[in-house]
């Protein structure tokens, strides 16, 4: 899978409303990977919204979420991921998009045990986001996946959504996940993968490459737990060789350097963190030998 540097010009050109984002702040050369089913380039780092964007009606917190989104787009980000499970996050994203006037790659989920109630939930989510249609809809945690996948396939055929996928997290139901990947024509799969939880390397990630599916990696920092655990330890000297001045960047670079991974979606409430995360999606990325060194170092800690 090839890596395509997204230049500032390409980035601005790719965004319909780029004029509304401060062009001076747009960072050059964010690395992208193509979505296998379409070839569309997606920046290697996106933005998650679990917990961080669920701030209710708090006007101060909603404004600060919009600032995080503004910094994300300014740094060349595109994909924002949410779910009806994440409380007020969808509405917070919608408000932020409206304020900034930006065009996100909108990734949301259907999460309801009743199949027939799926379309109404998707429509409610779309209204919260304020988008004409979602770019990607995923079945959240495989809940009622057979019925929802039928709905999503029909929506895709009717041009009401561009891509379809499934999600899991923390290594749950990888057996079922694999089965669905083998039997259904999915554009995307979303799962957890990080420097300490590498089970996906064995089967899911190779299968995604084989089946031509884009891969979104959630919980790259294990909800910050990973950073808290290893941040006190010294950063290895070889981190400088891959342009990672912090543990957060090293952890992200490790994830997105896996050739099957299309995009990692760290969530944050801070502008400096989103900028740091986006900076990880720049050259150089670790090669296979460097990835092995990172694993060996972290496992010794």
């Amino acid at each position: 899978m090839s890596l395509v540097p997204l230049t500032r010009r390409a980035f601005l050109g790719s965004m319909a409303s780029a004029a509304l984002v401060d062009p001076a702040a747009a960072a050059p050369a964010i690395l992208t990977r193509p979505i296998p089913s379409s070839g569309e380039a997606l920046p290697l780092v996106g933005l998650g919204s679990w917990i961080t964007f669920n701030v209710g009606n708090d006007p101060v917190a909603r404004e600060s979420c919009a600032e995080v989104m503004r910094a994300f787009f300014a740094a060349g980000g595109r994909m924002i991921d949410s779910s009806p499970m994440y409380g007020s996050s969808q509405g917070v994203i919608g408000e932020g998009l409206k304020k900034i006037g930006a065009n996100a790659f909108s990734a949301d989920k259907v999460w309801i045990s009743s199949g027939p109630r799926g379309p109404a939930q998707i429509e409610a989510s779309r209204n919260f986001w304020g988008v004409p249609k979602f770019d990607l809809l995923q079945v959240h945690n495989l809940l009622a996946w057979e019925e929802h996948l039928r709905t999503l396939a029909a929506m895709k055929a009717a041009g009401q959504v561009r891509y379809v996928g499934i999600t899991t997290s923390e290594g749950r139901r990888h057996g079922d996940f694999e089965k669905i990947m083998r039997t259904h024509p999915l554009d995307f799969v979303q799962l957890s993968y990080n420097i300490l939880d590498r089970e996906a390397e064995q089967r899911i990630l190779p299968l995604a490459r084989e089946r031509g599916m884009a891969v979104i990696i959630n919980r790259p920092f294990r909800e910050g737990d990973l950073i808290r655990k290893i941040a006190r330890k010294p950063l290895p000297s070889f981190a400088a060789e891959i342009g990672a001045p912090s543990w957060a960047q090293l952890i992200l670079k490790f994830i997105i350097s896996h050739p099957a991974v299309t995009c990692a979606i760290p969530a944050t409430t801070r502008v400096d963190h989103v900028q740091e995360n986006m900076a990880a999606a720049r050259d150089p990325l670790p090669d296979a030998a460097m990835r092995a060194r990172i694993v060996a170092y972290v496992e010794k800690l």
Binding site: T52, N54, D58, M85, G87, E170, R172, E223
Partner: protein, 223 residues
Amino acid sequence: MSEWWTYTLTDFLLFSARTYYRLFELYNAAVWPLQLVTLALGAAVLILMLRGGAWSGRVVAAILALLWLLVAWAYLLERYDTINWAARYFAVAFAAQAALLLWTGVIRGRLRFDANTAKIGAAFVLYALAIHPLIAPLTGRPWVQAEIFGLAPDPTTIATLGMLLAVTRPLWLLFVIPFLWCVLTGLTLWAMESAEAPVAPIAAAIAAMMAAWKSRSRSRLAD
């Protein structure tokens, strides 16, 4: 839920501690000076419990029913539901507790206070009124985030447990929802790594032991 054993408590946490406590800050600002009214009602509950008398049980039950309804509507439904989609179900449970208080305490008049245990119950109410709001400043948060009796669920629940300890015969049905809430709020605060996480579960455990002890000593007296 499949593979339930793989879930940890934090998998169910939908919001950060900062968002959770900001909710109380914005709530307190929006309802001010209602805090003075609910605290005055709390003081009335305390006095009536200690004084006893023919109508005290009915008045205390009416006050607490009103406040459980207020928490259900103003906090759980109007505020907490904006960050926790399960809050609407909690609101139903709080409204059910209000209905139980009305039925048992106001209509059937089953709340009669016992001078011997009223003092222990009063300690719970006093804690809910005066000590619980101090958790915010004591744990380094601004005092405007204080959880006030009659407006926030935790102190309202703890005070209600105290009231239930003060009645002559344990009304077990009225303990159920406060117990469940104490467990739930303890788990939520624990998942957020909040220092006060053990407070409500400990209050529930003490109340359960006291009520069980009282129930046993009553049945011994009856023998």
